[in-house]
């Protein structure tokens, strides 16, 4: 692609996931540099702050700042946790990072442990990717054998142990405190915050949770410096970023591009629109992000600030592309079913509200919509948003609000005419599953 990718593109080639291959491309140099130059923990955190690296899991919180919240001097156990529970519809980047470059994540986690004074770490891996989980476990075995994990790593006085924890199918565990509950062997229901994990995390001990891609960015920042990383992107949006492109494009996949890359360039990298059809809408940051119509997204650059200004979120960098064959009511119906299915049931507004959202969108899609339904949907979202422990309630509401805002006419057509604006056979052709005869 000619991009500056250091996570995925650097890891091309045979058996790129093996330790020997990672070392050949400069792997674990950052860790060795920290030990040989005796770089103090504060300086590591300082470098991260300079880099303007922001959490790649979706929230975009500044990583350096997050690390500085950890009470380094706290005498007891402290934990580093990697969130590889990638289940946000549209997002599939962490799977590729762990598949091709697991040691980069391990190195990032060891450095995190060093910087925050943690002795143990866990990588929570999404349930459905069993082969990736096994590969990560193999990488851990390699790292232990090379004394990159364990006691007195590479002869230093720093010791760190790392394990993989395999999820088993619960979207909510991507929420950091639900993930901690899950590691503790419970159902994954988010905790009320505060206290935040930095003071009360895994097993009640100080804990920092970052996304897979965030950890994978750390070695580069230590090797090349925070300033260099920042320069790869744009101010306040440092680095390159993986974008997962799915939906109606010719070449879906992950693309590692500098923050601030124009959306239309990314669309081109993904091979353009399937069948040369017309772009209708894009969800730019995973299913929880508000949808944007074609004319708005075509003017956006891909960074936290530009997408936020357009009224959506960069989120996890999951770009879901929809062309003119898409029925927006059906699209929303499927997303609403997802949140209804995945609500953990802890908070009433979400447990009940997601059911309402799904049932009302479902009846509109099935020709049973009522004139007052759009107001009803907006009212339900208003009663969910801001009234739940975690963000799943908001995540369920934002698609509904934004679909109605931008494609309200299509919903009204459904309600009035009891059928879709986009003919059934056109929709059917859009998926590309059935060969055109």
């Amino acid at each position: 692609m000619g991009t500056l990718g250091f996570i995925l593109e650097a890891a091309e080639g045979e058996r790129s996931w093996r330790l020997a291959e990672y070392v050949k491309r400069g792997g674990y140099d950052a860790l060795k540099k920290i030990f040989s130059e005796k770089i103090p923990a504060d300086q590591v955190v300082g470098e991260l702050k300079k880099s303007s690296l922001r959490g790649r899991g979706g929230a975009g919180f500044p990583t350096g700042l997050k690390w500085s919240f950890m009470p380094r001097q706290f005498p007891g156990a402290k934990y580093v946790v990697c969130n590889s529970d990638e289940g946000e519809p549209g997002t599939f980047k962490d799977r590729d990072i762990l598949r091709w470059n697991p040691h980069m994540v391990i190195e990032g986690m060891i450095i995190a442990g060093y910087a925050m004074g943690c002795q143990r770490g866990y990588n929570y891996i999404h349930g459905e990717i069993w082969d990736i989980y096994k590969r990560f476990e193999e990488a851990l075995v390699e790292a232990r054998a090379a004394n990159l994990l364990g006691n007195n790593i590479l002869g230093s006085d720093f010791s760190f142990e790392l394990q993989a924890h395999h999820g088993y199918g619960a979207y909510i565990c991507g929420e950091e405190t639900a993930l901690l509950e899950s590691i503790e062997g419970k159902k994954g229901q988010p905790r009320f915050k505060p206290p935040f994990p930095a003071s009360y995390g895994l097993y009640g001990k100080p804990t920092t949770i970052n996304n897979t891609e965030t950890f994978a960015s750390v070695p580069y920042i230590i090797n090349e410096g925070g300033d260099r990383f920042l320069e790869l992107g744009k101010p306040n949006n440092g680095g390159t970023k993986l974008f997962s492109v799915s939906g109606h494009v010719n070449r879906p996949g992950n693309f590692e591009v500098p923050m601030g890359t124009p959306f239309k360039d990314l669309l081109e990298m993904a091979g353009g629109m399937r069948g040369g059809r017309k772009l209708k809408a894009v969800i730019p940051g995973g299913s929880s992000a508000p949808v944007l119509p074609a004319d708005v997204i075509m003017e956006c650059t891909l960074d936290y600030d530009s997408i936020a200004k357009a009224g959506s979120m960069l989120g996890s960098g999951a770009v879901i592309v929809m062309d003119e064959t898409t029925c927006m009511v059906k699209a929303l119906e499927r997303l609403s079913y997802f949140y209804f299915e995945e609500s953990c049931g802890q908070c009433t507004p979400c447990r009940e509200g997601t059911g309402w959202l799904y049932r009302v969108v479902h009846r509109i899609e099935h020709g049973e919509g009522r004139p007052e339904d759009l107001d009803l949907l907006n009212s339900v979202t208003d009663n969910i948003m801001g009234r739940t422990i975690c963000a799943l309630g908001d995540a369920a509401s934002m698609p509904v609000k934004s679909f109605i805002k931008h494609f309200g006419a299509e919903f009204e057509y459904h309600i009035q005419n009891k059928k879709c604006l986009v003919p059934e056979d056109v929709q059917r052709a859009g998926s590309g599953f059935f060969k055109v005869s």
């Binding site: 289940g87 866990y122 993989a164 998926s431 599953f433």
Partner: protein
């Protein structure tokens, strides 16, 4: 109720966590037992509880919360198809329809010969490979067009 091999595998999982946190291994333990026995019976759940020193209901709470555990018998091959939006845009729903028609069953049903159970799945984190399906929780199948689905079904004897 737990085989020697399952016990050994579970004990390896227990060792990943601090000594006083055996409960952390419950997800792995249930997955190991399900892999061996095909599904999680009440007896299996009680055996896991016993092995980990947990209340059976606490283990049941976990088993019933996470989607990939089966609390009722399933066919020899459980095929879970992702129909979520990104997959649907690239044929996820149509792939599920195709499977329903080929197997003559709907979601959450098992073929009369006990060979296949069909499930609807939520996001597997592989949207770029749509249509995707997961066989018995461990084998992810990518880019499943009609031809690939036919050959997958042929392999599942």
């Amino acid at each position: 109720m737990l085989s020697q091999e399952s016990r050994q595998q579970i004990d390896r999982e227990i060792a990943k966590y601090p000594a006083e946190q055996k409960q952390s291994a419950v997800m792995a333990a249930l997955a190991i037992v399900q892999m061996e026995q095909g599904w999680l019976s009440t007896e299996a759940i009680e055996a896991v509880a016993d092995h980990l020193g947990m209340a059976p209901v606490a283990v049941y709470e976990v088993a019933s919360f996470y989607n990939m555990y089966d609390l009722a018998p399933v066919g020899k091959y459980k095929i879970t198809v992702c129909t979520n939006l990104p997959c649907a845009l690239s044929g996820g729903v149509h792939a599920a329809d195709y499977l329903k028609q080929k197997l003559g069953v709907g979601f959450n049903e098992t073929t009369p010969d006990g060979r296949f159970t069909l499930k609807e799945g939520e996001c597997m984190g592989a949207c770029g490979d749509a249509p995707v399906m997961l066989v018995n929780n461990v084998r992810m199948c990518s880019f499943m067009q009609p031809e690939q689905i036919d050959s997958l079904l042929g392999e599942c004897k």
